[in-house]
């Protein structure tokens, strides 16, 4: 049995859902990296990783960081190495779904975070971007209690220091016209800080 097949068996045998998702993300990232494309975990999947699975679903969302597009046939062939079904942009593999969304949009100047999983290194969208995106979803297009709860959890892990962030960068991002949530984010941060018993 080759390395990839053994890793797939290990992933499928992992009962811890977040660890399974991380290992699968690492394996998919490695396969695409070796083929010339760098992938980044984004959106709700990134929040899952940063908040310790408080937001887990059954899919992992990737964007590609490499400018060159991935031909769909090439993506199918790469995912076939992992025994995936479906495609050409969403596959089922090792009991989870892997979605490839397109080119990465990342306004943050802080780097993507990396986690060296046993199956390969995972790049995750900067936590600063994750915070501001979640704040945006919490208030727009209209206030959403579910999205607000997720934003608060993201802020909680950041304020506690468990997920280190650059607060200056978060403030800068929140002021950008692309987000424009400085006031809302500031209030939400203060609310979370009060609940944690810390200072915003």
């Amino acid at each position: 049995m080759d390395r990839t097949q053994q890793e797939l068996k290990d992933i499928e045998a992992t009962q811890d859902l977040l660890a399974r998702a991380l290992m699968l993300a690492g394996l998919v990232s490695r396969v695409f990296r070796e083929a010339g494309w760098e992938l980044v975990v984004v959106g709700g999947s990134a929040v899952e990783f940063y908040t310790e699975g408080a937001y887990m679903s059954g899919d992992i969302d990737f964007c590609r960081q490499t400018l060159a597009p991935i031909p769909l046939r090439r993506a199918q062939d790469l995912m076939a190495q992992l025994g995936a079904t479906g495609g050409p942009r969403s596959w089922k593999v090792a009991g989870l779904f892997v979605d490839l969304l397109g080119l990465l949009e990342n306004e943050s100047v802080t780097p993507c975070r990396t986690i060296a999983s046993p199956c390969g290194a995972i790049k995750v969208i900067p936590a600063e971007m994750a915070v501001v995106e979640r704040a945006l979803s919490a208030f727009y297009p209209k206030p959403d209690s579910e999205a607000k709860a997720v934003a608060k959890k993201m802020l909680a892990v950041c304020l506690s220091g468990a997920t280190p962030v650059d607060w200056n960068e978060i403030e800068r991002l929140s002021r950008l016209p692309a987000f424009d949530v400085e006031k809302e984010l500031s209030a939400l941060k203060a609310e979370v800080a009060r609940e944690l018993g810390t200072t915003a």
Binding site: Q15, D16, L17, L18, A19, L22, G44, Y50, T51, E52, G53, A54, Y55, M56, S57, G58, D59, S90, K92, G95, L96, F97, D99, T110, P111, C112, R113, T114, I115, A116, S117, P118, E146, A149, V150, K152, K153, L155, A156, V157, C158, L159, S160, G161, A162, T163, P164, V165, D166, W167, N168, V192, E195, L196
Partner: protein
């Protein structure tokens, strides 16, 4: 976190595992322990695959 310390951006697997409890503890202090979206554009495939849920059962290590 805007201290003189450099921003940590890279984790080994062991570091990540060891830091899980702190992230979980902080997240659990705010709102329900688990927040799973009730719906999204991926609903159809997720619910079909996971017994009408949007993901597998939670079973944290």
């Amino acid at each position: 976190m805007n201290s003189a310390q450099p921003l940590k951006t890279d984790w080994t697997w062991d570091e990540w595992q060891q830091s899980r409890a702190a992230r979980r503890a902080a997240a659990d202090k705010i709102g329900p322990v688990i927040v799973r979206r009730k719906e999204s554009s991926s609903d159809r495939k997720l619910r079909a695959a996971f017994k009408d849920e949007r993901g597998p059962d939670f079973n944290k290590g």
